[in-house]
């Protein structure tokens, strides 16, 4: 018999279950979406956490992404918030615009954002290299305009 891993125990306690590489299913109370997908670089980072166990990082990451996506979808007017890392912000932006989102190009052909398939949600990366860097998430139906900044 195989003993459960620390990650499995933590996931069970936290209400977050992991469904293989690159995906995580949030089953706890307060989650807005059933599934949170992780970008490839996030998965890699979770396999080699800088400190603590991978499971601890993963549970926190999934929860933070889920909560931030919920806030982005519910934002009315201008708002701003911090997440713990740039990677989290990028994950949120990808989830926000969803599958089949189209790229947005600037005048010289750089990809500077994405727009959802139905055109209602926009992620702008135009300020990602600024000193006061952020990703802008626009939600047209609510008039929401959320700036997501990161701590590291």
């Amino acid at each position: 018999m195989t003993a459960p891993t620390a990650g499995a125990l933590l996931a069970e306690e936290s209400g977050v279950s992991f469904a293989g590489s690159g995906t995580a299913t949030v089953v706890g109370a307060g989650s807005a979406e059933g599934t949170v997908r992780l970008l490839d670089n996030t998965t890699a980072a979770l396999d080699n956490p800088a400190e603590g166990t991978g499971a601890e990082v993963t549970a926190d990451v999934v929860s933070e992404i889920s909560n931030t996506i919920t806030r982005a979808r519910q934002t009315i007017g201008n708002d701003g918030m911090f997440v713990s890392s740039k990677n989290i912000a990028e994950n949120v932006a990808e989830q926000f615009v969803g599958d089949n989102a189209r790229p947005i190009y600037d005048r010289v052909g750089n990809m500077v954002g994405k727009i959802s398939e139905d055109g209602t949600k926009i992620a702008r990366y135009t300020s990602i290299e600024k000193l006061d860097a952020y990703i802008n998430l626009e939600n047209k139906p609510t008039g929401g305009n959320l700036h997501i900044r990161w701590l590291k």
């Binding site: 189209r102 600037d106 047209k140």
Partner: protein, 73 residues
């Protein structure tokens, strides 16, 4: 861009087309997807343009900053 031009663009979001003139000589008929005053940019789909070469092979939307636009009509 003038405030009136920004107003025109906003009335055209997801509602018909508008002609955008750029300082580099490009003239484009565009479907406006978003106008952001805080970000000072316009996101649009190209309907027709005198600079097809600029958009060749790009199926996505396009973003232009206010200061790259010379006129809107």
């Amino acid at each position: 861009m003038t405030e009136n031009e920004i107003h025109i663009l906003k009335t055209k979001i997801d509602n018909g087309t508008v002609r955008i003139s750029f300082f580099d000589g490009e003239e484009t008929i565009a479907k406006i997807l978003s106008v952001s005053e805080p970000e000072k940019d316009i996101i649009f789909d190209v309907v027709s343009t005198n600079r097809n070469d600029k958009y060749k092979g790009k199926t996505g939307a396009h973003l232009v900053r206010f200061d790259e636009v010379s006129a809107v009509s």
